[in-house]
C-alpha cells in the first residue's frame, strides 16, 4: 500500500470510526442536567427536582466527580460526607473522587483528625453553609510538589452564600493577618468568630465586629503576631470564620 493510499485509508477509517462513536455518554438520560448546570456558579441555583434527580442519578454523580477534578469539594462537603450528616446527595460522586480518582488532598483530609474537630463544631451548632473554611499545610497541598522554600501563607474562602469572605495571609514582615469581609452593608455591626484549629487540637479563637468599608460593604481585620512564634504554624490546620448570632 502506498503512503498516499495509507493516508487516504486513515482518513476514511477516521470518518467511519467517528460516525460509529456514541453520540453521548452511555449513562446520560433525557432527565439529566445539562453540562452548564454543573458549573459551580449554577449549582447554587439548582431546583429541588434537580437536586432530587442528581442524588439518584449515576451520570449526574459522575459529572459532579468530574467537576471536582478541577476544584476539590469544600471542607464542609467532606465533613457532611464522612459523617453522613443530613441527606448528603453526592455519595457516589465522592466515592468516585476519593477512591477512583484517588484525590490526595481529600483522602488526606478525610483521614485527618481535623475533620473530627470540624464535626464537633457542627455538633455545637456551627452553620455549615454560612461559614468560610479552608485547610492549610500538608493537608491542603498534598497533591503539590514539596517546595524547598515555603511560600507565604495565603488562604482564602467564601461562604456558600457569598456573604462572608475570609483571608488569612502572611505579610512580607512575617506577620499573620486575618481579613474578614462581607459585600452586604446590612452586616455592619454583626460579629464573627474566627477559629484556627490545628491537628494536635490547639485552638485560637478571635471575635471581631464588622465595620463599614464604604461602598464595598463591611470588613474586619486582626493581626495574630509573627507567624514563627505561633505554636501551630508548623502543623496542618483549618481556618474557620462564621457568624455569631442571627442577622439583624
Amino acid at each position: 500500500m502506498s503512503e498516499k493510499n495509507f493516508l487516504g485509508a486513515l482518513r476514511t477509517l477516521c470518518e467511519i470510526e467517528v460516525a460509529r462513536a456514541p453520540a453521548r455518554h452511555s449513562l446520560q438520560t433525557q432527565k439529566c442536567l445539562t453540562l452548564a448546570r454543573f458549573m459551580p456558579w449554577s449549582q447554587a441555583n439548582w431546583t429541588d427536582s434537580e437536586r432530587e434527580h442528581v442524588s439518584g442519578c449515576r451520570y449526574c454523580q459522575r459529572m459532579m466527580a468530574l467537576v471536582w477534578r478541577e476544584e476539590c469539594p469544600r471542607l464542609w462537603t467532606l465533613v457532611k460526607y464522612k459523617y453522613a450528616m443530613g441527606t448528603f446527595p453526592f455519595d457516589e460522586a465522592m466515592r468516585f473522587h476519593v477512591d477512583r480518582d484517588g484525590c490526595p488532598r481529600c483522602s488526606r483530609i478525610l483521614n485527618s483528625p481535623l475533620i473530627d474537630r470540624l464535626k464537633n463544631l457542627v455538633a455545637q451548632g456551627a452553620d455549615l453553609a454560612g461559614s468560610a473554611v479552608a485547610a492549610y499545610g500538608e493537608v491542603a497541598s498534598a497533591a503539590e510538589f514539596a517546595s524547598i522554600k515555603r511560600p507565604a501563607l495565603h488562604i482564602r474562602d467564601t461562604s456558600e452564600d457569598g456573604l462572608l469572605v475570609s483571608t488569612l495571609l502572611e505579610t512580607a514582615e512575617g506577620l499573620l493577618v486575618l481579613h474578614v469581609e462581607s459585600p452586604d452593608r446590612k452586616n455592619i455591626g454583626r460579629r464573627v468568630v474566627a477559629e484556627v484549629i490545628s491537628e494536635s487540637g490547639s485552638l485560637l479563637r478571635v471575635e471581631l465586629e464588622l465595620v463599614s468599608a464604604g461602598e464595598f460593604g463591611c470588613r474586619a481585620e486582626h493581626a495574630y503576631g509573627r507567624i514563627r512564634d505561633l505554636p501551630w504554624s508548623r502543623e496542618n490546620f483549618v481556618f474557620l470564620v462564621r457568624w455569631l448570632g442571627e442577622a439583624g
Binding site: 477509517l13 456514541p22 454543573f38
Partner: protein, 236 residues
Amino acid sequence: MVHIGHMDSRTDEELLQAYYGCEDTALESLCERYYRRLWDYFRKLGFSEQDAEELTQETFLKVATGKRRDRGRFCSGNFQGWLFTVAHNVAFDHWRRMKRLREVPLESDKDSGETPLTVCLTDDWAKPDEVAETVLFAQVLTRCLAKLTFRNRAIFLLKDYFGYSGIEVGGMLGMTEAQVNMARFHTRRKIQECLEEKGISLRPLAAPGPITQIIMKFKDEILVYLEKSHRGDIDE
C-alpha cells in the same frame, strides 16, 4: 471548519460566545457537534470506553469553565484547536493519574498482539464497505499506536488520522511545526515498521525497472507515435 453535527447552524465561535453570554443550550450544541470526534480521539489514545466518555465530558466541562487566559487563546479564532488542546491536557492528566494510582497500562498497551490478525489491505482499500475490515484495520492501528509514546500517539492521531495541519497540531500540543514534523517522522517510521509486521507495506512503489525507464525517457516520443498511429499517419 469541519462541523460534525448540524443541529445548530451557528459557527463554533458563535456558539461559544453565546454560551459565555449565558445561553446554556449553546454548550450542548457544541457538545453534540464534537462528542463523537473527541470520544474517538480518547479511544485511539488507548483509554477504555468508560474513560473515553468521561474524558470527553470533562473536556467540555473545562471548556465551559473557560478560564480567562484560555478564552484569550480561543479568541485567536480556532475553536477546534483549543478544544483539542484541552482534550489533550485532560487525557495526559488522566494518564498520569492512572499511572500514579494503579499503574494500569492504557488499554492498547495491554495488548501484546498475541491474537493473530488476518488483515489484507490493498491499494483499493480507499472506501472499505466491510465493517469487519474497518474494525480489523482499527485494531492493527491501535496495536501499532501502543508502541508509541503518549505524545507521539497524539501527534500521529491529530496529524495523520484527523488531518490537522502541522501548525494546528503544534498549537494544540504546545510545539513548533518543526518539532511536530520531526516527531512525526520518527512516529511514521515506527508505525510503518509495525504495519509491515502485520503485512501492510507502506513502502513507495519499487524503483522502475530498465524497460520502464526507457518508456519514461521516451514517453513524449511514444505518445506522439501512438497519436499518429491512431490517425493512421504511420506507414507499416
